[in-house]
């Protein structure tokens, strides 16, 4: 039972794939890394539905016996008024009140319960996309009084992820970009500027896209046909200021793109706040694939400690 819904709390599984034919976007957790950790710590299916708590401010009262974990952004968490640590399994009983305060480092907090929230999929996924009114509970963010369906779960092993294995959420990041799309329409000087300047996150950062500001970059494209946009695509409209397109992006668009930020780095970007500083680094698609495989291997290999 939701006592306080928080600013932007959204039920999310890994995302909605294979339905771009209807114009449906992907949705899914902005920080896929913290999402996967939440499910792994509880020994859930990797695609189990979690709650993405944007910025914090959530209070929920349990009606069942279960276990939970809170990962992602650093935020003060309390169970019946007593502080509880993030990144580790905790048990919860009927009547218990879990409060997640406002994030002090990072912006997206993930709350998982054992077995995941039990949300019937729409178009193959439980992910909430508010703009499309699809997924979650009636396609909307959480409201006070909502009931989050989940099944009682037997108490399982209690795990924690060691502090040195947790992601760091600072306010500076290097985002690796696979150059592509209209890259050739950005001349050498423009590309040099893009890859050698610092950009700041503006206030206009949301689940559709993160607008950055800094050295302006221009392409020599004059009008282009709308085309499919992938996750992380860096769109540069006429004002020369890059926009990194995120999970709830429109599936097609007609602005020039210089390439796309890789998934592990959009996860990092999603945890940053306005004013945060980023730089871009070019990586080939082959290298990007290696980075992905290495990260997956590291994730699988990193042990959880029993607690």
């Amino acid at each position: 039972m939701v006592r306080q819904p928080g600013l932007l709390s959204l039920l999310q599984d890994r995302g909605r794939y294979g339905r771009h034919d209807l114009g449906l976007t992907t949705g899914g957790p902005l920080d896929i890394v913290a999402f996967y950790w939440a499910n792994r710590i509880l020994d859930n299916d990797p695609n189990a539905t979690c709650l993405e708590v944007g910025f914090g401010g959530l209070a929920v009262e349990s009606e069942i016996e279960s276990s939970f974990v809170v990962t992602g952004a650093e935020a003060p968490c309390k169970l019946n008024g007593d502080p509880v640590a993030q990144w580790q399994t905790r048990d919860i009983s009927p009547g218990d009140l879990l409060e997640i305060g406002f994030a002090s480092r990072g912006t997206r907090i993930y709350l998982a319960v054992r077995g995941g929230f039990d949300i019937p999929p729409s178009f193959g996924s439980a992910s909430t996309v508010v703009r499309e009114k699809i997924g979650g509970l009636d396609g909307d963010k959480l409201q006070a009084g909502d009931r989050l369906p989940c099944k009682p779960a037997p108490r399982g092993r209690h795990c924690l992820l060691a502090e040195h294995d947790r992601p760091e959420y600072g306010d500076e990041a290097v985002l690796r970009v696979v150059p592509g799309y209209q890259q050739a329409a950005f001349g050498p000087l423009q590309q040099w500027r893009f890859f050698n300047s610092e950009y700041r996150l503006t206030e206009r950062c949301d689940r559709m896209g993160f607008r950055l500001e800094g050295e302006s970059v221009h392409s020599d494209m004059v009008g282009m046909l709308s085309e499919g946009i992938c996750h992380g695509a860096v769109q540069i409209p006429a004002d020369g200021q890059p926009i990194v397109l995120m999970n709830d992006r429109q599936t097609i668009g007609g602005y020039p793109k210089i390439g796309s930020v890789i998934g592990i780095d959009t996860a990092r970007l999603a945890q940053m706040s306005p004013g945060g500083k980023v730089r871009f680094e070019a990586v080939s698609i082959e290298k990007a694939h290696n980075i992905y495989c290495l990260e997956r291997a590291r994730f699988a290999r990193t042990p959880l400690e029993t607690c």
Binding site: D21, I134, V178, G180, E227, G228, G259, S260, I262, E286
Partner: protein, 225 residues
């Protein structure tokens, strides 16, 4: 035809610089082939005017293999005949009441309102792409006489079913949303209904014709003013 990198798990195939029914048919044929031949490693496909975005599963494949599979799938596509596509007729209640930009669009082209309505119905349109919002189908191409640029100030709220024109494209808004297209009428057919299978009356590659209906007919078919 060229294959470009789009992202970490994405390639985009450019079929031509401009769109045409032939290019659209080629893209349809490519969608069909890729869906069959690359089923095991495909995440999603986004066909558009002259391109096709191919998203693949990083767990199941790698960029080398995908490039090769794509080249194979695209070989010989040029020879494909223009696919017919299903013809879908959409009813429209054209009027200044249901299409607040009808009169200004007519004045712009030096036409009467009746002529705009007539010209819009005269042609068969192809579904070039679906995107922007669930169920939003980009239809082309509108006759030059009734083509018009987007509004300088987009509307905060375009009603569901609004039939609209922007440049040489036309579309039916599937849901209430902001929008900058010129509104010329209302269509009572739901363009996106999540509860229905299929949830859209059209698919990319289909052909669409508009057919004028009266106010009473519009309301009888479930339209709202």
């Amino acid at each position: 035809m060229r294959i470009e990198v789009a992202g970490q798990n994405a390639f985009i195939v450019y079929f031509a610089e401009q769109t045409s029914p032939e290019v659209s048919a080629q893209i349809q044929a490519a969608v069909k082939r890729i869906s069959e031949q690359m089923r095991d490693c495909l995440v999603d496909l986004v066909p558009s005017y002259a391109s096709l975005l191919v998203l693949y599963d990083l767990e199941q494949s790698d960029p080398f293999a995908i490039r090769q599979l794509l080249r194979n799938a695209l070989t010989g596509l040029e020879a494909v005949e223009t696919a017919e596509g299903t013809l879908v007729t959409l009813p429209v209640y054209y009027s200044p009441e249901s299409g607040p930009d009808l009169e200004s669009l007519a004045a712009r082209g030096g036409l009467g309102v009746d002529e705009v309505i007539e010209i819009h119905q005269q042609f068969e349109y192809r579904v070039y792409a679906i995107g922007f919002a669930p169920g939003f189908a980009y239809l082309g191409e509108v006759d030059e006489r009734i083509a018009a640029p987007r509004l300088a100030t987009p509307r905060q709220k375009v009603p569901r079913g609004a039939v609209a024109i922007a440049d040489r494209q036309t579309a039916v808004y599937p849901a209430v949303s902001p929008g900058g297209w010129n509104l010329i009428g209302l269509c009572p057919t739901r363009m996106f209904d999540p509860g229905k299978t299929p949830s859209m009356p059209v698919r990319v590659g289909d052909r669409v014709r508009f057919e004028a209906i009266g106010r009473d007919d519009f309301i009888a078919r479930g339209g709202e003013l």
